[in-house]
């Protein structure tokens, strides 16, 4: 048995051949058993042999859904013919069989689903055992979401106390904090255990616990600032301080406002047709109606207008239109993400983040969180720092530079709106701020003059049609290709689009819906190279008298 004193070992080819034969044999048995199962099911036989056959097949392939279904049919049948003790025994056997299936594939949908089904039907379930099974599985793979799902069911059915569950997340986070499931589970448990106020139940945390959580999560992101799970939890925590259920703009959400929105003029309800600003919008923060002709005959007197239950409209003397905005403050509108009640808390969080940023100047999560904290604290005061941080962010995370560009645009627009509100003017000017997108246009309802020059805008989106009072639109030096939102603006007179990327006449089509348009500047756009452009434009936009090409 030795050659030159060596143990003789089968060659690789020999081993392969043996394996192949073994596989063939197995396949034959498998196919035969499968066919037997199918024919039995067809005949409606629910006996022990079928249970045996399916077990044999499932133990080698636990992802065979049809067989699990067949098995459930058999078990449900057995429930009707056996007494409780026997049923208990059958189901217990089922559980231990499932355990072996989970060893074959711990992420098998079929096995976990079946386990949930069995546990729910077991006459005398042993939840402690199920919990320890979950813990064992999660200690092997703490991201097995099948197990997380099953565990939630077990916890619910067995009524495990919330504080015990919180301890469980402590343990998992302690062994590896890169785990969304654990952090998320924590976020669902904490409001139950430490609510801001006992009654009514709120989704917020009491301050004491909140501070503890800040400490925990800071430990995580200082240890590994590149792990995003901790940062996500942190962002969630920073939004837990204040009740955020101030639905000030109920009417804006209504789908068919003509049903619910009632216009009352000088005590007289009016029948009006409401429409959104753009045919694309079924939902919109802005709705428009025309008063029936003759309702207001003398425009010299003051009239009281009430829309629905929510907004009071006032027409002033000498005006032909009326606009309504409710009294939501800008803070509530713009800063919903971070909402800790006490600014001192936010301030100290900003300090720790700045500390981390000093150590890790190029960490994107840290930079982004700092930006959000600065927004929540003092958006205007921190504007310069915010812009600098956005610049760094775009450099260190170039894959997401467009996202940061959009976010920065949003913040810049918010800041400009704030400044405008303070100044109580109807001019909105935000030129040369690298804007990539427009938002909060509903807030600009009353603006008559908008200056968007020298940004990086590519389009004026349909929302732009909310600027119903707009008279002058300045958007020189952008990359605008599309004017979809310049639509039915009743007072628009001047559109300046020098040096943009409007290339076809069709792109200018929306302008035709603005009746008062007189002046149009299209210099430096590809469209000016089109043949007969002047005559074509004269036909498309007959009202324009001052055309610059």
């Amino acid at each position: 048995f030795r050659q030159h004193g060596r143990v003789k070992i089968k060659s690789t080819a020999q081993q392969e051949e043996e394996k192949r034969k073994e596989r063939e044999k197995k396949l034959k048995i498998y196919v035969a058993a499968r066919d037997a199962c199918f024919s039995k099911r067809k005949e409606g036989i629910w006996d022990d042999e079928a249970l045996q056959l399916t077990q044999q097949l499932l133990s080698s392939n636990p992802d065979f859904a049809t067989l699990w279904n067949y098995r459930r049919e058999i078990l449900m049948h057995l429930e009707t013919v056996k007494d409780e003790d026997e049923v208990q025994k059958i189901y217990e056997a089922e559980l231990s069989f499932l355990e072996s299936c989970l060893k074959v594939n711990p992420k098998s949908y079929g096995s976990w689903h079946h386990r949930g089904w069995v546990s729910a039907r077991l006459p005398r379930p042993d939840w402690a055992r199920e919990l320890s099974l979950c813990d064992r599985c999660l200690s092997l793979d703490d991201r097995n979401f099948h197990c997380w799902d099953y565990r939630r069911m077990v916890v619910k059915m067995s009524g495990v106390p919330v504080d015990q569950e919180l301890g469980f997340t402590d343990r998992l986070i302690g062994s590896n904090f890169s785990n969304y499931s654990s952090w998320h589970y924590r976020s669902t448990l904490l409001p139950l255990l430490h609510p801001e106020s006992p009654e009514p139940p709120s989704p917020c945390l009491c301050e004491e616990q909140l501070l503890k959580e800040y400490e925990l999560v800071q430990n995580a992101f200082f240890t590994d600032p590149n792990d995003q799970s901790a940062w996500f939890y942190y962002r969630w925590l920073l939004g837990r301080g204040m009740s955020i259920c101030n639905c000030l703009n109920v009417q804006i959400c209504m789908k068919i406002p003509s049903v619910g929105l009632l216009l009352v003029l000088d005590g007289q309800p009016q029948r009006v047709e409401w429409r959104s600003v753009h045919p694309r919008f079924k939902h919109s923060p802005v709705w428009i109606c025309d008063l029936p002709p003759g309702t207001i005959s003398d425009i010299t007197n003051e009239h009281n207008l009430t829309a629905s239950l929510l907004c009071d409209l006032l027409t002033s003397k000498g005006r032909t239109e009326s606009w309504c905005r409710d009294s939501a403050t800008d803070q509530e509108l713009f800063r919903s993400e971070l909402s800790v009640e006490k600014t001192s808390v936010l301030q100290s969080e900003l300090q720790s983040c700045n500390q981390l940023q000093e150590l890790e100047p190029l960490n994107k999560w840290c930079l982004l969180t700092i930006i959000l904290l600065m927004r929540a604290l003092d958006p205007l005061g921190y504007e310069k720092e915010t812009l600098a941080h956005f610049q760094t962010l775009k450099e260190v995370d170039s894959m997401r530079s467009a996202y940061y560009g959009d976010l920065c645009s949003k913040f810049m627009i918010e800041n400009t709106i704030l400044k405008m509100e303070y100044a109580e003017v109807r001019v909105f000017s935000i030129s040369d701020k690298n804007l990539t997108t427009l938002c909060h246009l509903d807030q600009l309802l009353l603006v008559t003059h908008i200056n968007l020059s020298s940004n990086q805008l590519q389009q004026l989106p349909p929302q732009f049609a909310m600027l119903q009072c707009l008279e002058v639109l300045e958007a020189d030096n952008n990359s605008i290709e599309n004017l979809e939102g310049v639509y039915h603006l009743p007072k628009l007179e001047e559109v300046l689009l020098k040096n943009n990327k409007i290339s076809t006449l069709a792109d200018l089509q929306p302008l035709a819906s603005c009746p008062k348009l007189k002046r149009l500047d299209l210099r430096g756009n590809p469209v000016t190279q089109t043949a007969n452009i002047e005559s074509e434009l004269a036909e498309l936009l007959p009202s324009v008298t001052d055309l610059l090409l």
């Binding site: 048995f1 030795r2 050659q3 030159h4 004193g5 060596r6 143990v7 003789k8 070992i9 089968k10 081993q15 302690g174 062994s175 590896n176 904090f177 800071q218 430990n219 995580a220 200082f222 240890t223 590994d224 600032p225 720790s352 500390q355 981390l356 150590l359 890790e360």
Partner: protein, 604 residues
């Protein structure tokens, strides 16, 4: 007595880890191996003992100084041969043995706790009066303190474990003479995996790294989870530590600038703060303040590479003690036909004068055994024939049995690696390993603590100050909260790293390997074994994976008989050879069955 086959490829005298690894490697590739050891137990200075086994070992070291007279074997020599005598005793490698027992002889019922001390034979024999005087003082001190100790014990419900209990439960102890840990990416672990020898043993993770600082034991955060959970570090320190650890994985220009300058200086310049500096220097790099930066960084990297492979620390420890490891390799060697002989020693090496090669050895029974290579432990070789560092370096060792962990935690089953920086200038840095009962090295309710350092003085001089500070002994003061020492042993052992690799005055086919060294890992022993193997068989693979039992072909009767027959002609004693083959085959088959059983167990 075993009749030894006359042709042996490789012969080993004594077994240390090095020899057993090399023997397994030779046997695995088909070499005929004979392994003899004058001791009655496996693994030499790498052995593990039960409590009573250790007491016997201690006694033996007190008596074996009677040197057997060298016998005259000249009748066995042929023309042109000469004999190199080998030394008989390995007492030289162990010295300064001292034993103390700080627990009562019998259970508590007995009045007036007995303050037994096992007087140390070592000191008596050397007759150092100073020591004896000091020990007497200890006895007196102890007598003074024990009554109060007894009072203290009566309060808590936990009863102090008596010496009688230690003896009774002695079989639960597996006390290693060396104290090492296995780096989870060290050469030993790699070899165990590569060769499949790992299936002969079980391992446990070292669960935490501790350090002694400002008279306190602290946990060293070394993994990501530890750093996250640590309560001693501020968040900024956490970030600095993590950043340092990630940054030192790669070698940078900045680091090279510090080559030759102390690692401490490098750490200082990173502005990490005292806390982190201590952890990094003493517990992670485990170097001293004057270690050069490149060396400090290399050991830091080694530590980090080993993290996370099997758990939150870089170390593994074999269940039942380190003595298991040489035995595992011996088992592997035996599976492939190696023969073992205990209580059997080699008296001399027969050397051919012309070629200066070893032709055979002569054993203590006067039998001449032919061999083509001879591997021998350093201790057998007379001092004038080997090259060692002068003066001989020693390790100081202490073994304590205590009644509690030095840092109690939620779990009482922690395996802790503790680094103790020099407690005063000129003192050595001490490595300490605390084993709990689930490592199967001590009885439940006790901890086995190993202390190791490079010797400056005797083991007692080097280590007792650390023991007195960190544990409660009759000598310690105000240490109510520390665990008590029940029993302890101090001894010095030759540091194997003092042996030079080359230049011994020995025949070219005689190889010397060293005893245990003071390093925490097993690099030296494995390196030595591999280098011996490569010298003898440069073409062969070192410890290739052992085949799975199902892949071994046993129907060799028809195919290999012709090959066997050819061998027969070449060999003088073909019948014996065949018998031996039969024997080996049986062994192998038994082994196969055993492995299959094992496999079934693991499959379940």
């Amino acid at each position: 007595m075993l009749t030894l086959a006359p042709l042996i490829h490789c012969l080993y005298a004594a077994e240390s880890l090095t020899e057993s690894v090399a023997a397994a490697a030779f046997s695995r590739v088909g070499q005929r191996v004979l392994h003899v050891d004058r001791r009655s137990y496996y693994a030499g200075n790498w052995a593990s003992f039960t409590f009573s086994g250790l007491l016997t070992w201690i006694q033996q070291h007190h008596v074996t100084l009677l040197i057997k007279e060298a016998q005259d074997w000249s009748s066995l020599l042929e023309e042109g041969e000469e004999l190199i005598h080998l030394s008989h005793s390995d007492c030289a490698s162990i010295r300064n043995l001292q034993v103390f027992c700080f627990t009562s002889e019998e259970d508590e019922e007995e009045e007036a706790p007995n303050t037994t001390e096992e007087e140390t034979g070592g000191t008596k024999e050397t007759g150092e009066e100073e020591e004896e005087v000091r020990e007497e003082e200890e006895v007196r001190e102890e007598e003074q303190t024990t009554p109060s100790a007894a009072l203290r014990q009566s309060e808590p419900t936990k009863k102090k474990i008596s010496y009688a209990q230690l003896l009774k439960e002695g079989r639960r102890f597996n006390i290693d003479l060396v104290s090492k840990l296995m780096y989870s990416r060290g050469s030993l672990v790699d070899l165990l995996i590569k060769s499949n020898v790992s299936r002969y043993a079980e391992f446990k993770n070292v669960t935490r790294i501790l350090t002694y600082r400002d008279r306190q034991v602290e946990q060293v955060p070394c993994s990501r989870a530890d750093v996250f959970a640590s309560r001693q570090l501020s968040v900024v320190e956490k970030r600095k530590l993590m950043r340092f650890l990630t940054s030192c994985v790669e070698e940078t220009e900045e680091q090279r600038a510090y080559n030759g300058r102390p690692y401490l200086e490098f750490l200082r310049d990173r502005q990490l703060g005292d806390n982190l500096q201590h952890f990094l220097l003493h517990s992670i790099a485990m170097v001293t303040e004057d270690t050069p930066t490149e060396e400090g960084l290399a050991s830091t990297r080694h530590f980090l590479r080993c993290l996370g492979r099997y758990g939150n620390t870089p170390f593994l420890f074999p269940v039942y003690g380190l003595g298991e490891i040489p035995q595992c390799f011996c088992r592997m060697c035996a599976v492939f036909g190696g023969i073992y002989c205990l209580r059997h020693s080699v008296d001399g090496v027969v050397v051919d004068r012309d070629s200066n090669r070893c032709k055979a050895v002569i054993d203590s029974r006067g039998q001449r055994i032919t061999c083509s290579h001879f591997v021998v432990e350093e201790g057998y070789v007379a001092a004038d024939r080997k090259r060692v560092a002068t003066p001989t370096r020693f390790l100081s060792r202490a073994v304590l049995i205590t009644d509690g962990s030095i840092l109690p935690s939620d779990s009482d089953q922690q395996v802790s690696m503790v680094t103790v920086p020099p407690i005063a200038a000129g003192c050595p840095a001490v490595k300490m390993v605390e084993l709990c009962s689930s490592t199967m090295t001590c009885m439940p309710g006790t901890y086995l603590v190993h202390l190791t350092c490079q010797s400056v003085g005797s083991a007692y001089e080097d280590l007792s100050p650390v023991v007195t500070r960190m544990f409660r002994t009759p000598e310690s003061h105000d240490q109510e909260t520390c665990p008590s020492v029940l029993w302890c042993l101090y001894f010095n052992m030759t540091d194997g790293s003092g042996l030079e690799a080359e230049g011994h005055n020995l025949p070219s086919n005689v190889y010397v390997c060293s005893g245990p060294d003071g390093d925490l890992g097993h690099e030296l022993a494995i390196r030595q074994a591999e280098s011996i193997f490569q010298k003898i068989l440069p073409e062969e693979d070192f410890c290739p994976p052992a085949p799975n039992p199902e892949d071994i072909i046993y129907d060799g009767d028809n195919t290999s008989s012709s090959a066997g027959g050819e061998e027969e002609k070449e060999e003088n004693d073909g019948v014996a050879e065949e018998e031996k083959q039969e024997e080996e085959k049986e062994m192998l088959e038994e082994e196969k069955e055993m492995l299959e059983e094992e496999k079934e167990i693991t499959d379940m």
